[in-house]
Symmetry: D2
Subunit: 409 residues, 4 copies
């Protein structure tokens, strides 16, 4: 029986023949870091139904324990993003100590500005000054938590918007939002960055206050260098060229980070790479390409944010990390000088085939080798399943009642 | 001060001059019927948050009481659609009696095939035979309820679908769905119709088993004459010409009914006519046009189904009914013979202006007159507000906790 | 027989009762200005077919003559946008003199950077330096023409983009584009403005160099105050809230102008207001609202740019102007203080109904009165038809061969 | 240096280990047939510009010569679709003889019902009876040509539709279209099939008479067994699950054939697989899956129809064929029994990974081996380039003037 080692050996030879520095590629793959979100380990669903899973995490401690499993089998996910107040604890030192005991750190802090009754008409853009102050105070609380736990990223997603024409004044909302953000930015410690997320629509259905990268970019310009844009892959109109947005923001030093996921329709929050893996590759192609320009900042935060409602939570996360690793690995195999040559000549078919050649490569043996060299099982998904953790938590934690945001009986 | 009566008199004169039979138009407007849904009076929200409203209805009785308010002020909404099991009661006679005491009847019965844990992979199209049987049994239960309460419509919306490639076999699901529907149809009493709703996506995000009118139509053909298609205005891909679907189904005697609402993005479930009132007019233009062909069935059921999360429930419903009345009134004013003349000549600008002329007409005085002749206040929204009912229920029923389908703390 | 005068009188009374200053509204409607494009009077079509029209304009002189007809019957369209080289003439004085003899002036100059074989991979963003220089030179030529004919607007639409991944480097293209624009802006005389148009896609089908308002806005920021954004209503992804973009740009003093048209799918280039007139009203609502803030620039250029392929050219233009007048008139009737009150209170239904009330108003009698006071026929479309001009040009100019595609030189 | 033969050997071993019958897979790949269109070898473009290519084919003979090159290097493209009247010749025997001399046959006949001035308001659905008769006559002419040249497929794409509300009556158009199709179908010889293509929009921008698969399917049901649906991959609303449509039509014996291409926005007509190759794989997954059901018809016609405007025509066609071969090869590697097992269990991650495993496989060595066994060069694109044909035709045929728009007669 031939093995992945045979495949790796042959692939490494062929890549070397083509001029690829395989050792360097492996080193970069080992250095890749992807943050997973605490809320990705708990139950989630649609407005119609939450299908509760046996063993879904219920507390910040359980979420970190689950995230540690993802890191244990992939080796590239040592941090966990937190959502406040979902992950609020009395003793941050205890949570941090628990994380460290599992080889984990606490990552981006995500304020929740959409689940308080006060936010019906928005949070930072609310027409009511009192509500805006409340929202600002919550973000400042999150900044303090970040200070406490040693995190340097505030991930700001606003659900702010309106559902009907006439509900509020467009220019007033813009002014309110800018003023609120200025107050927040003034309180931002020097080591923290504020990542401003945009979203085309939902939960606001007529007007969303930060609907596109252009708005997030304009806001980040007004604030300063530590304000950057957060690109969530599912938050675009159909047909959007996301890799172009990534390239634009990289060139402007305004790409703060990613929320990885995939979608077919709206913000479906499906697992990363599940619908259009070629697009994910093209995004990584921009990221790798930008590393060639030493004048650019290289501080992009790579985070998963998806709502894998019907997949087993930890497995779905491992699967997503593997998709991201594959996209990065393929992007690292692109012959950049050759590609540039085709582009200068205007050789359209050749340029595309140059990209396609990297994309067509089966990088699984390469990643298996990387994992083996990192002391990991070459197949993280199989290894996790074999480990018995899922059964353990299913038995130990049980299953919640589910429920739904929609009309309940 | 000039009054709406002055406006009506002038409008009636001008319409009469143009050859419109104003009395007939008013008679048709008085005969219009729009069913409101029980679930439109309870709290609703997005996956992120339910903003609970003071006084939101909690029981079938409260929902009927609220619907009766809409009928009281509009005069055209005497029936209420029910959702099972949300509206399940022990004694249907009691509920029916209560409705009748308020001048109301019970309308379409809507089975719920999406909130049971068994339905994670679908209901009527589930790969598991046992789950399909369970789902069929529920629809048969709904048919029995319809018999009991004297309703003749089963409104079938399926959330069935999958989120990822590979989850199930596309042709198997189709076969399963068809077999399930055949079993249901065989049990359908002769006086009942089965309306099959389609939806482009959500809550399924990769494959929806009945994603478009074509699928619903094909299924209805396989079943028989009492199976028809239900058109929910928000369930189409962007750019869809909905009035064309309406015209097609009318010509085939396969338009069973509507779920009225509006959307800007996905299935936003905004109130009817709030985003594109011209489209609503063009849909009514097809409906009015089809009444000229005596060979066509005229049994379209007009129902509202929207998720006016942030608007006061009863006001939003009255507002929606008024939008529908306006669209219908304008469609009744189209000079059909003149329009046909332009169409035969290929006079594109003239044909469009003929439609536009009806649409541009301010029909509010006409509807005020219709209401006055029906013994109603000419302004239903103002009259409802003046009536004090909203304050009464807000005080009497209180406000629920809200909550959300999403990650809860 | 009741007349439009009766309707106007009643409307004026009712508006006055509501506190509207009818004389001021009429004054604003008389002062409205809408520029029509020379190329809107020639044959146009899709990639599949041009249906040639008898009498379609073939020369700049004929185009201006046709535009003068639109002005003659509407009174608000005294200028014509030119496209270079389509409208290139040897003697600009002669063309300008001809225009003046018809009461017309020459308006925005539109460089053509998409019909030269050199532009296969782009113009200002082309990877080849020589091609970029050629494109820059063409824009400078257009700037010189603008100087000559007394125009103060350069309308820049780029077809630049690529069709396939790999064709060119995203960040290089961005750098090239910025450099080209900087060179152009440096040559822009003080009295001219550079309006940068964006377009989501087409004719580039993978990557468009200026795909959205965010890119155009970012470019305009880099250039300076006389660089602004041009909003073409058909150039957005489905679902985009265009009035929000308008409000944002107004607040930033970066809204340079409009290209009016409408679409249902892609960049359909249908006549203005034909698909979603409510959206057009909401856009004008932002424009009127912004006039209340004296700190904002009020130099928006209102231009029509549509491809009414199958409608008679001049009639289609008059019809479009009338749609725009109606949207503006309705926006002027919005009770702004009342609306603000509802917005501050968070009265969602009331706020929407406040807008709807203005939109529902039949403003045709008001516009008829405005026209009568301007010495025009109250019905421009009927008056133009009665004038016999169309027959005259059909006979005098004949019909071209058609062919397929867009307006060619 | 390791070679593709080494890769093939290792892959074949691994596949065999997994239970794949590699010889059978190769046999199926050798038997694959893809038809290329004559018009894919001539100049094409957008409404804005045609970038003429040196050597682009100008006559049916040149087009067949070019198509023969694609077949020569791929071995799977022995037939050419014709477009009438673009490919009209006086002597069909001569054209057929020429094709046969190059090892080619004439394939599907495509009537042109969109480039005559009469068709401004449609062809088979035109409100004018005379125009409908003219259109029917043209299709009958195409049927006769098909008889003459031994083709058994009529590929019917209609540009029929309207641009504005009011232009024509929706139900009348439907009735006219059905009547026209019935007359055509009655004249269809027993050996011919009528494939009805649908398209969401363009060139009609408000209403398209056959906008979706549902309409094409309904029409094919009314006609009979030899009427089937033609799926053009670019003719769907954004977000459409095309593989589901394919599965539905296969299950109904109504999938007549494909027009392969790809798109990111509208009907971009990009080369097959260039934007979302995973979707192409999922479509082939349905096709392969359906071969397991012996009760289903297996007469799908695989045709390319794309508008590779800026790519060299013949290279683009070879590249597209290779993409299709890769998608098919990967679909053949799916472990169907294993997949079914996961689906029955509801194992979502496992089912997806089963598909992904086949998709991730680098099938280029397998296809190289297939080609070698067919006596072809393992790399068709490189071999074609090395052959010198392109230079030859560039020199011999020259370059046209370009212009704007689509392939004209």
């Amino acid at each position: 029986m031939s093995s992945w080692q045979d495949s790796y050996k042959l692939l490494a030879d062929q890549l070397t023949d083509r001029g690829v520095n395989v050792e360097q590629v492996k080193a970069l793959l080992k250095a890749q870091r992807i943050e997973t979100p605490s809320w990705g380990y708990g139950d989630s669903g649609t407005r119609f139904k939450v299908f509760a899973q046996a063993g879904a995490a219920r507390t910040p401690f359980e979420k970190i324990a689950d995230a540690a499993q993802v890191h244990r089998f992939t080796g590239v996910c040592p941090s966990v993003a937190l959502h406040i107040p979902w992950d609020l604890v009395d003793d941050w030192g205890e949570l941090q100590g628990y994380a460290e005991s599992l080889g984990m750190t606490l990552g981006a802090i995500n304020p929740n500005l959409f689940q308080d009754d006060a936010y019906k008409l928005g949070s930072l853009a609310n027409p009511d000054h009192g509500v805006r102050l409340k929202a600002i105070a919550h973000v400042l609380e999150c900044i303090a938590i970040a200070e406490t736990v040693g995190s340097d990223i505030i991930s700001l997603w606003l659900a702010d918007g309106t559902n009907y024409p006439g509900t509020d004044n467009i220019r007033s909302r813009k002014a309110h939002l800018e003023q609120s953000l200025r107050e927040i930015y003034q309180s931002l410690p020097a080591r923290q960055r504020l990542l401003i997320e945009y979203k085309f629509y939902e939960p606001a259905f007529y007007l969303t206050d930060i609907p596109d990268w252009g708005t997030a970019y304009a806001l980040s310009l007004k604030l300063g260098q530590r304000a950057q844009v957060l690109v969530d892959l599912g938050h675009h109109p159909q047909g959007t060229n996301v890799e172009q947005i990534v390239g634009f923001l990289l060139a402007e030093n305004k790409l703060g980070g990613f929320h990885f996921n995939n979608r077919k329709y709206g913000d479906d929050d499906l697992t990363t790479g599940s619908i259009n893996p070629y697009e994910l590759f093209l995004i990584y192609n921009e990221l790798v390409d930008a590393t060639r320009d030493p004048s650019l900042r290289q501080d992009v935060a790579y985070m998963i944010d998806q709502s894998h409602n019907v997949k087993p939570k930890i497995e779905a996360m491992i699967q997503s990390v593997m998709q991201i690793q594959e996209a990065y690995a393929k992007a690292l195999l692109v012959s950049r000088d050759e590609l540039t040559g085709y582009q200068v000549e205007g050789a359209i078919v050749e340029g595309e085939e140059c990209l396609r050649s990297a994309y067509q490569t089966d990088v699984r043996p390469l990643l298996a080798q990387v994992r083996a060299e990192m002391g990991l099982d070459p197949n993280p998904l199989a290894a996790f399943r074999a480990g018995g953790y899922q059964k353990e938590i299913a038995a130990g934690r049980g299953r919640s009642d589910g429920g739904s945001g929609y009309q309940g009986a």
